[in-house]
Every structure is written in structure tokens, then in C-alpha cells.
Amino acid sequence: MFGFCTDPASLDSTRWMLCYLTTPKHMNLYYAFGTVLLLLAITAPVSLAFGFGGAILARSRIAPLSWLGKGYIAIVRGVPDIAFFLFFVIALDQAFEWVLHQIRCPDWDQPIRQGSDFIVCAAAKLPQNNAPQYVHDTYAFLVAVLTFSIVFGAFAGNVLFGAMRAVPRAQIETAEAYGMTQGQVFRRIIVPQMWVYALPGLSNLWMVLIKATPLLFLLGIRDIVFWARELGATQTPRFTAFPHGDWRMWYFLFLLVFYLAFTRVSEVVLERIMRRLSHGQATAAGEAQRRAAA
């Protein structure tokens, strides 16, 4: 990176560190932070949408739809979430390949599951075997995003379902007295008012989502955990200009600090949003704000 980095062995420790931390391999670690942020940026809205859909289904008057929604929301109960991650990431991949197989190879006569193998025709492989590396990476990342979204969508559904029911009955009755239809009540009264009830749950969920991002490593993504292990491991002079001992502890200490800072900043921001959302609401916090202003 820097001009003076050509001969690391001759550098003093500050410059050595500077050069060490800017090697191309370290750039991978820094990009991986981008991957984590990208995952959060995509997963948060998508899982909110999943949760919203789940909550609407669960409220449905048609029994099978309601069962579907409630069943989806209920997957958060009783089972370790890591199991969901490991399950969905394979199950989704197989589901995609199965669907493609049905579309692209309709005259394939062999069974797909043969003993311990899952065999689809070459045209249904995802991604194609000859695809460049970035396609493989992107596909793996997208499957991971979808997995996160499904799991967190169930959690969000749980929160939103509760929030929709927490909107005061009187508000809905008033809306009905004005002659609003079911849909209008939902769109104009319930949805705008539910957020203040949903926010404590959703902020909790956001914290949980931040803390779940290292699980990307389990899904086979080259994320910050992967690179911290890789870069921190003992490097011998034979293979690198920057030999060092086992530094993995320090790399993980750095990740620990990163996550602490991230959750702390989120806490502060979410508190502000909560204060803003409480404004003018028929809740204790809203009432307190009104009193303070008056």
C-alpha cells in the first residue's frame, strides 16, 4: 500500500504495523465488514416484509391461511435458531435446484435422491459449474440473505402480530363508527398506530440481528469471522513478508469491540426514534411528552 512497505523486515514497529494492516489480504477483512453491513441492510427490510406478511396471514379469518401464518411465526419457539440457519441454507438450495430441474429437464427419468446423493441434471445446477467465482459467491450470499430473512421474518411476524393487537380497541371502534371498511381500518388506523407498539420488539430484534451476523460464517460465507481466523493464524516467514505468531485472540478482540460499538450506537439511535414515534400517541410515553410540552 505505502511506498516504504517493500522491505517489511527492516521497518520499525509502527510502520511495520501500518504495512501489515494494509496488505491485500487485510483488505478482504475490511470488505467483509461491508458484507456484514450489506447483509443487515438487505435482511432488515426483507424480514420486516416477511414478518408483515406472516402477521397479516395469522390475522386472517380464513382458517388455513391463519394456520399458515401462525405456523410460520411459531417456528421461533422451542428450537435453537442455529438449527434453522443450517437447515434452511441447504433446504433452500435444494428447493431451487429441484424447481429448476423440473423446468429444464422434464424428461429426466432417474430419482433425484439416490441414497446419500442429491442429483439434478447439469442444467439445473445452481450456479452453473462453469460460472465465474463471483457468481458462486453472490449466489451463496443471496441464499444466506434469504435464510436470515426467513428466520428473522418469523421473529418480526411475532412482534408485528402482537403490535397489531395492541392498538387500542377504542381506536378501531371509532374508525368503524365512521363507516370505514375492514381494509380501511387496517390501512389507516392499525398500521400507522402499530409501530409505536412494535418498536421495542423490533429494536430488540435489530440488536439480535446484529449479533447474529457472525453466523454467516456457519453458512459458508467468507465473512469477518472467516478472515479473522485466517489472518490471525500463525504466519511463517516462508510464506509471507509479515511473519507473526498466533494473533487470532487479538483479531477476535477487535471483532468483539466492533460489535460492542455497533450495538451501543444502535441503542442510542433507536432510543431517539422511539422518542419521536411516541410523539402524539395514546401511550404513557406520548402522554409524558405532551405534559412536558404543556
Binding site: V76, R77, G78, V79, P80, D81, I82, A83, L86, F87, I90, A91, D93, Q94, E97, R113, G115, S116, D117, F118, K125, L126, P127, H136, Y139, A140, V143, F155, N158, N204, V208, I210, K211, A212, T213, P214, L215, F217, L218, G220, V225, A228, R229, G232, D246, R248, M249, F252, L253, L255, L256, Y259, L260, T263, R264
Partner: protein, 285 residues
Amino acid sequence: MGNFGRQPNFGKFGGRHMTCAGALSADWLRSIGIGARQLPTSNITLCDQFVLIGSGLIWNVYFAVIALSAGFFLAMALALGKDAASPWLRKPCAWFIFIFRGSPLFIQFFFGYFLFINIRGAFPGLGVLTSAGVGATIVLFLNTSAYSGEIFHGALRSIPKGDLEAADAFGLSGWGRFRRIIWPTMLRLGWPAYTNEAIFLFHATTLVFFSGFPAVQQSGDALYYARYFADRTFNPFVPYPILAGYFILLTLVIIGIFGLINRRLNRHLPQEVRPRIRYRPQVIR
């Protein structure tokens, strides 16, 4: 993707057990290293999966029981410490709770493991820390202490003022006041949330063998074996539901045990005001 975990077929060694009873007697202690060295590799039957994943639960229960029972005491100390007037006591407790609640358990495991490796380098006698049985239990213990400490701290702050005034009126002070009034009330108020914490700690034990701590001779926990089977058979639709079933059962056991304690803690209250334990999932840490 699309081909991870695909393993060659070792036809010859498959189907080691012809019967379910055979699988059960051979493998039910496999997770703690007793039984056939080789895991089933091909012709994996449903029985193999049920027995081996069930065997792995020994680890999950072990981690949870040790971490929870030791963590309970540290949690009490942290809750009281965070409420202390002296900043010398309050600040360290608050920081401890913040650090363990504000960072992912997964990263804590990794950091702990590599820290223990460095300790082993300096003091070879402490090498046992790098094993899952000791090292991971310590991390889980500290983690659950922080979460439960926060729960009991909240409970401590919400003890009804009237109870404390009544204690003063009766002339109780110091240790007697704490033992007879504050502590039981704190426990009672915090118990439903603590039940959730216990459930989540139990679920979090599945992370251990994915976070550096080695599964020596493939002795792992339930999720370790479930993933082993999913990778072997390339069929996630069998091992994970088995795992889920086991965990739901054990979650119900936890709710049952903690419910009994809850009943005992609230036995002086009239029936209708006793708080019920409501399972509120909070997920991942």
C-alpha cells in the same frame, strides 16, 4: 454451492447396526466417547440418526446445567453490584453486563477459545481450558451470568416500595432485610424472565462445537451430529426435524421445572395474582 457436504460412499462400513436396539446400545453414549469409534457413514438409518443426535444432547444438558447453576450466583452478585451506591462496585458490574450482552456469543466463544490457547502457551498446566467441556462452559457461565444479572437487576429495581417500608417498620435491616424481603421478592419478580433466559442458554449451547472448540474424536453435541448427518446424507429434512423434536421436548422440561419453582416462590400470594410464566422467545445472543 449445491455440492457442499457431498461425501463419497463407503458402502462396506455402512449399516453397522441391523436393529434399532443395536444402534441404541452401541451409540447412546457415543457423544462422550464411549462406543464405536466410527460414526455411521452410509446406509444411515433413521435409528442411527435418532440415537446419535439424542446422544449429543448429553453435551447440551451438561453445558446448560453447569452454566446455569453456577451463573445463578454470579448473576445475583452482578445484580446487587450494579445497584450498589459505590461506583467502584457499580461500574465494573455494569461493564461486565454490557460487554457480555452487547456482543455476539459466537464471537465470545472464539475469543475465549483463542485466549485459552494463549493461556495454555504460558501455563501448560491450564491446557484443559481449551477443551469444550471446561472452556466453553466458562464462556457460557459468564454469558448467562450477565444476561441473568440484568434480569435480576431489573427485578431488584421493581421491588414494591411498600414491601421495603414494611420491612423497615418491622425493624429489619441489613442482612435480615435482604434475606427475608429483598432477595425472595427479587427472585419472584425476575423468575419468568429468568425462565426464558434458561431456555435461551440451553439453545445457545448448540454453538459450542461450531466456534473453535474441538469435538475430540467426533464427540459433539446434538447439532454437531445433526449437521454431520445432513452433510452425509445431503438430506436436511430428517436430522434437523429430529433435533427440533428433541429440543422442543427438553424446552418443555425446562418450562416444567422452572414453573414448579415459580409456584413455590409465589405460594404466599392469592391464586389470581400469581404471575404465570409466559414463554416469550427472544432468540440468539
